[in-house]
Symmetry: C2
Subunit: 332 residues, 2 copies
DNA sequence: CTGTTAGCGCATTCAA
DNA sequence: TTGAATGCGCTAACAG
């Protein structure tokens, strides 16, 4: 590929002039400008972003690490990050961690080596201690969906406790007292926080917590299928199921439908995340919003601001109930 | 951030030695190696990927352009691309085009400026002529989901005609003769190809093509909702609906369920793509596979191979029926 | 096995 | 308004 020198030669100007017109960094005579533009076009030239990053000590790249892009949750998140990047004339470098510590570490290191002008990390397998080192060394690094003690102001997440408290309370207010909970088996804070929200809601409303009714499965479609089968052969009674997330709930409901069990007539189901697909389910899933899009946006904005040594105040990320049709009011 | 020189100084060796141990490009004495490793760790050093790309005239980046990462279709695709990138020690630069020509062009130019070692492009708004210029100038550029005359061997896509012929034929074989078709309103080849598949299947089986029963909407959830309402107030009869894609079908079915119309008892529905969510619907959606994951994989492999001046033979991308429960056999 | 050095392509001083 | 020259951080000859 042509270099800036080729363009300069063809346009009969110096490389400095070419740089100036292509970047608009200084006044250039119309004559020179046109010559440069023509030459640029003739050669099909694009400034080399690597060389530029080196010379400017500043890149146009923002790095993002997620578990898995095909997961609708992360798809929405990455989309938001990309939009912020785009409006700041940047482009996204994306890596996937797949919940594996090795992959996550490799990804972070790779992103760091690219000298990103912003870094948003969703890593759940890397130990706190290691994450803390990174956070200390790279003050523009922002974490998402995880709270690291000492770095709370660079951790973007929702109040999981409150969210799951809300779904459980909703079930209780609709007359349910025997409520199963399908939790995530991942060893992340979210899972504990949400489970605590569930427990507290039960306690606050005088319901008993039945440990037999708390399952742990992979927080995916497959996990939902497993959970559904386990619940169906469960000896303890329950009238409703609260789920760690919508994906679980969706798969669960698919199994129920397949077995001829009617939701919500026989069993009520409530989710968490308000994924795009949840409104398409039959019945549409009652759930709670998880504003991933907004979190992705603000995480990126925060990282960018920190990178540029600017102030940035993170907003609160609200979670709210989306009432649809998968919960039955037992009192009617 | 520290540079290779800082490391060299601290380790008491030359920069060349540091480079050698960090890249494993040549034998280095254990003594020197350890010193380098220690210094590297002490300084929290990562080789600068930009400088390296410049020196090596080769980057570790693969560029991908899609319409929108949050679209489950593209989520799956990007995931595949990333996996291939990862196993080739590369990392993905991701841009979104949102079906807008300007965005697509900016994205392509940005990816080019990064001197990617591979380039997979899903652009549907950029005119053929312009795309052809790019394809000519960058022989490692690969297109996905679009066929550009003259560059067929670098265009990765399925046989849309055959896929939609298959779904329509399936409906016909189950006794349906009045079949509506919900097409995409995007001006892309896919839409025409699929619609032709639908028409041909009808003709081949002696069914009439009723132009009134062919709708065009945005190929999204919103589009599905619109289509459902239009169909419900349609005066012409039909017993089944073939959809351009699963997203449309999902939203369509949600509206039907809401209106108390039973699928498949009253209306049969068939999709296209076999998205992850389709098996969660109630009833689970009968559809046809669209191997996006495999396409993403091979598109990336092809681009990488071309970049490295290697031979690479693209496989056929098969589409096959996934029989579930949204189609009723009228003859039973 | 190791160090010196010359670029890689660009932005940016500094002079003119 | 322009150009010459320097250096960004690294790799890869080359010489030792």
């Amino acid at each position: 590929m042509a270099t800036i020198r080729d363009v300069a030669r063809l346009a009969n100007v110096s490389v400095a002039t070419v740089s100036r017109v292509l970047n608009g960094t200084a006044k250039v005579s119309d004559e020179a400008k046109n010559a440069v533009l023509e030459a640029t076009h003739a050669l099909g030239f694009y400034l080399n972003a690597n060389a530029r990053a080196l010379a400017q000590k500043d890149s146009e790249i923002i790095g993002v690490l997620v578990s898995e892009v095909s997961d609708p949750y992360f798809g929405v998140m990455v989309r938001s990050c990309e939009e912020v990047a785009h409006s700041n004339e940047k482009i996204l470098l994306v890596a996937q961690g797949f919940h594996e510590e090795k992959r996550e570490l490799r990804a972070i290191n790779s992103l760091l080596s690219h000298r990103c002008a912003g870094l948003v990390v969703h890593a759940l397998a890397v130990p706190d201690k290691v994450m803390a080192e990174y956070m200390k060394s790279f003050p523009y690094m922002v974490m998402i969906n995880r709270v690291l003690p000492g770095f709370e102001d660079r951790c973007v997440n929702i109040n999981n406790f409150r969210g799951m408290y809300l779904t459980t309370k909703t079930l209780i207010e609709n007359g349910h007292r025997k409520i199963a909970y399908v939790n995530s088996s991942h060893r992340i804070l979210d899972a504990d926080e949400r489970c605590n929200g569930y427990r507290q809601a039960l306690l606050d409303h005088g319901c008993e917590v039945n440990e037999n009714l708390i399952l742990k499965v992979s927080p995916s479609l497959e996990g939902g299928t497993t959970a559904a089968h386990k619940l169906l052969e469960h000896k303890d009674e329950f009238t409703a199921v609260a789920c760690y997330n919508d994906a679980l709930a969706a798969a669960l409901m698919a199994v129920f439908a397949d077995k001829g069990i009617k939701v919500p007539e026989q069993i009520s189901v409530i989710g968490f995340d308000n994924l795009f697909l949840s409104s398409c389910l039959n019945p549409p899933l009652t759930t709670v919003t998880n504003p991933v899009d907004i979190m992705g946006k603000y995480a990126t904005l925060l990282s960018l601001a920190l990178y540029n040594h600017q102030e940035f105040k993170l907003p609160e990320f609200e979670t709210k109930l989306i009432w649809r049709k998968s919960v039955r009011d037992l009192e009617k």
